[in-house]
Each structure stands twice: as structure tokens, then as C-alpha cells.
């Protein structure tokens, strides 16, 4: 705020609130980290301060890698997410270009449909979708998720890219077309390279949204080792005894890292993307 640079004011207006938020928002992660390194005996000892580490162990992580299918689940998640991201990105680039760049009857309606499709939650569709997946013989296969994740990825990325394509000056394309290029050629050689940052961030968001998905993965792909990481962790690592918490928290830490890194670089784009269609209109 203007003119309030004394330390006391800054402490009151900035550092104290900041500390409150840091504790409130990061506390569960700190707790996961502590537990994931805590020796099993200390975990059960209710006489010591639970927030402190009196010993240190990698046992929970070792257990995760050696005794569970954690690596396989992670690989599954990776395959599904990359597949769905590529498929969605290709479709979204085309939709984004058509809606952002071309003028045609029904264009407005299509834009509205894409936006509304983004708001359709998996909880609304998962029961009939399970039947569709089974009917197409995709149940338990990677394809079951690679084909269903785009239902929420395409609307999101299409909407985001539509806004992005609009920010690229139309004159560039027109100049190429005056020089004899077809529209498709102009799109491919002039517009795509300029849209690359937008495409990249749309890709990152598709990746993280796919990585975070839970319900479809739980219903369509949860047999044997064919599970995604969140589903595997929740359905196989939570057991009846109390000793599972160490490996559960270790899995939580490891599962958080990829998306945390991906998002931290692109978060500003994400938010502007949500309202992109609006603000760039």
C-alpha cells in the first residue's frame, strides 16, 4: 500500500497474514513430509510430540518402491495422461482456431457449447460412461481414459486456445494469403509458431488435469496393476492396520511433485486462460 513502508505496518499488513496463510495452507504437506520420514515406532508412540522427528528413515519410501506397484501406477498415469493430452491438444488447437479465427454460421453457438461442456462434471457422466466404455471393449485399458479425459480437456484447452488465437494479429495471416498461401498453409506456417506459448501452456494444464483425475480412473481402470497412481494409492495402500500411514504419506509427497513443478511455472497463464475468451473478446 502507498506510503506505508515502516516496518511495523509491513509486519502487520504483510508478514503476519503471510505467516498465517503459509501455516494454514502448507501445514498438511509439512505433515505428510514429517510422517513419510518418521520411523514406524515413533508413529505409534503417542507420548512424544507428533510434529517432531526423533528419528529418520527412508523405509516408507523403500516399501513403496519394493513392496507395492507404485512405480507401475505412476507409469500408467503417465501413459494415460500423455495420451489424453496429445489427443486433446490436437483437437483443441483445431477447435480453438476455428472458433477464434473463422467466421461462420453457428460459431457463437459452438463457443457456448464448448464452454458449457467444460462445466459438465465427471460425477454426472461416470455411470453411463462406464457402459459406453464397456460396450467399446475399453474397460480396464489405457484407452478407456485416453478417450474419456478429453471430454473435460478439450473444452478447457479449446476455450483457452480460442482466446489465444484471437490475440495474434489477423494481418499476418492475410499477408500470407495475399502472397498465395492457402488458409491451411498460413495457419500452419504463420499462426502455429506464434501460438506455441499458448499451446504449450494448454498442454501443461491438460497434463495436470489428467494427472489429477480420480473418478473415471477409479471406475474405468482399476483392475490388477492397471490403476492410475491416485487410485492405486487410495485403494491399495489404505489398509486395516495403522502402519500404512508412512508409505501413504510418502506416496502423497511423490505424487504431488510432478504437478507442483508443472503448475508453478504456468499458474498465471492458467487463470488468464479461464477468462481468456472473455477478456480477449
Amino acid at each position: 500500500m502507498v506510503g506505508s513502508n515502516t516496518f511495523r505496518l509491513r509486519l502487520l499488513q504483510l508478514y503476519l497474514p503471510l505467516a498465517f496463510y503459509a501455516v494454514f495452507l502448507l501445514f498438511p504437506f509439512a505433515w505428510m513430509l514429517i510422517v513419510s520420514f518418521k520411523p514406524a515406532n515413533d508413529l505409534l508412540d503417542t507420548t512424544i510430540n507428533p510434529f517432531l522427528l526423533y528419528g529418520f528413515t527412508f523405509d516408507h519410501y523403500r516399501y513403496l518402491f519394493e513392496e507395492t506397484d507404485f512405480l507401475r501406477w505412476t507409469l500408467n498415469t503417465f501413459i494415460v495422461t500423455v495420451g489424453a493430452t496429445i489427443l486433446s491438444l490436437v483437437c483443441s488447437i483445431l477447435i480453438g482456431y476455428a472458433l477464434g479465427r473463422l467466421r461462420f454460421r453457428g460459431g457463437n453457438t459452438m463457443g457456448v457449447i464448448i464452454f458449457l461442456a467444460y462445466l459438465v462434471p465427471p460425477t454426472l457422466l461416470f455411470i453411463p460412461l462406464a457402459q459406453v466404455v464397456t460396450r467399446f471393449n475399453l474397460y480396464g485399458e489405457y484407452w478407456s481414459l485416453i478417450f474419456t479425459y478429453p471430454t473435460f480437456l478439450i473444452p478447457f484447452a479449446g476455450w483457452l486456445l480460442m482466446g489465444y488465437f484471437r490475440t495474434i494479429p489477423i494481418e499476418l495471416e492475410q499477408a500470407a494469403m495475399v502472397d498465395g498461401a492457402t488458409r491451411l498453409r498460413a495457419m500452419w506456417t504463420i499462426i502455429m509458431p506464434l501460438a506455441l506459448p499458448g499451446i504449450l501452456s494448454a498442454g501443461i494444464f491438460c497434463f495436470t488435469l489428467g494427472w489429477n483425475e480420480f473418478l473415471y480412473a477409479l471406475v474405468f481402470m482399476s483392475t490388477g496393476t492397471m490403476k492410475t497412481m491416485p487410485v492405486g494409492v487410495v485403494s491399495d495402500l489404505i489398509r486395516a492396520d495403522v502402519l500404512f500411514y508412512g508409505s501413504l504419506m510418502a506416496a502423497g509427497i511423490l505424487g504431488s511433485v510432478p504437478v507442483a513443478i508443472a503448475y508453478s511455472f504456468f499458474v498465471d497463464h492458467y487463470i488468464s486462460g479461464l477468462t481468456a475468451g472473455a477478456t480477449k473478446g
Partner: protein, 311 residues
Amino acid sequence: MSVLPIEAPARPVERAKPTGMGRILDREAPLAYLLMFPGLFILALFMAYPFGLGVYLSMTDKYVGFANYDFIGFDNFRYLFQDTIFQRTVRNTFVYSFFTVPFKLVLGMGLALVLNNHFHFSRFMRAGLLLPWIVPTAISSLAWLMLYDSVLSPFSILFKNWGLIDSNINFLGSQYNAMAALCLANVWRGVPFFAVSILAGLQAVPPDLHEAAALDGASAWRRFRDVTLPVIRNIVLISTLFSVIWTFADFQLVYVLTKGGPANSTHVFGTYAYQLMGFSDLGTAAAVSVSMFPILAVFAVVLLRYVRAED
């Protein structure tokens, strides 16, 4: 003004003539539909079709493992309106998605205002404080699962050691505790989303306006109310609607923490539908899912109006 395609790309006056396929694709409407086809095909097959199928299923008595089933009209819905678990589910979902909004909004607004300052590591803090919203909910809920554990909750252990309580806190063991526990974790997850959205809106607040108002002797509160708030009003409304829609249709957090228990007292639509599906009762399960639709549709239409009005 409008969100969607507004200005016609002016046609080039003169150009060399492409031939054949290229020329057909230079006309905008056929090209547009051709480009949109792959995406729309996937959406039709895996979204529109299942939606229709879901509405149909909700009007049948289909059970998993039985080949025969009948069309029974609205009987499933009639049954659900009598069903005490469903009634509670509806109430829970509203509490879960509306009661938590003011908390998310106020805390998120506060966080946005704090993060809007320049300070050391501000970029780092921005990324870090977003974690609750970024990390897969199924994963972060695991931390809450242990924090709420009936035996190993660190709060129970600590408070007992300090002599504040005699027995462990039963976070997830009774309906009211469990709902409160779910709402707290839900607020925790939602605050960063509000914060980032509002933070993006704050960037659009003209700093000179603030300085001018400050010079005129306006208090911090008046400056917030008369300078900042009008600028971020729409983004606040939009993020609120987004949050309500997502929370209304949530599944992960409730599934991991309570699975709708104890005694079916903390279900939301998603978990109750999932549970009925597990009981093979597909018709009723689909009816629970479909019941969300009218409410979601209202929010979606309102949200659409705001997003289109946002300029």
C-alpha cells in the same frame, strides 16, 4: 463486448488463386466445421451420448448382471425423494458447496491482497501457497485422512499430552464432526483458487487511482471498497460460480475421507451415486447423478452470462 467470434476477418482484396482442395478450404464455414470435427466427434461419443444414456438409465430399473430391465418413468426419482439418505445427501451437498463459499472467498481475497505486495520470494510464495489447489485432491486428502485419524491424529495426541482433552477427538466418527471436517478440508483446497483468480483481477486495478484516492485522504478500507472492488467484482463472481459448480460435483475429497459415512450421513451426490453403482443398482445410481443436472444447469447459465459480459 461478446466473448465469441465477433469481428469478421476482413477478406484480402486480391490474392493468387489456390487450386482444388485448397480453394474449398479457403471458404470459412466448411473449413471451420472440418477443423472442429475431431473434437466434436469425441465430445459427442463420450459426453453427449453418455449424457443421454444416463437420463435414459435413470428411468429404468437396470441392475448389473441382469439382462432384462424395464422403463419405469420417474419411479427412481420418486423413490429418491422419499429416501432419507438421498434427502441428507442433497442437504450435505448444499452445505458442502455453499456454506464454505464465504470462507473461501474471504480467505482467498485476503491472500490475494497479501500476495499483491512486492516482497522477497513473492513469486516463490505464490507458487507454494497454491499447492492445496494444484495437487491431486485424492493425494492431499490423504494428509487430512491422517490428521483426522481417530487414533493417530496429531491434534488428539498433542492435546492429550497437554492435558486439554481426555479422549481422542472423533473427527470423522459422527455426522456433524465429519461434515465440519470435510468442509474444513474443502475450504483449505478452495482458498488458493479464489486467491489466484482475484490476484489476476487485482493486476487490472490502476495504481494511479489508488494513489490519487490516498492523496485525497481515503482510508484503506474506502480505497478497497471504491477503487479495488468495482474492478474485481466480476472476477469474484465468476470464480465463486466456478467454485460452487466444482464443489457441488465433487467426489474425491469425500470419497477418501469418509466414503459417505458414518452411516451414510456425509454423502454428496457423487459418492452416493458411486455407492449405489457399487450395489449394482444402476437405475437409481443414474437417477442420483442426473438429479444434479438441473441445479448445475442453472449455475452454468448464470456463469455463462457473467463470462460473456466480462469485457
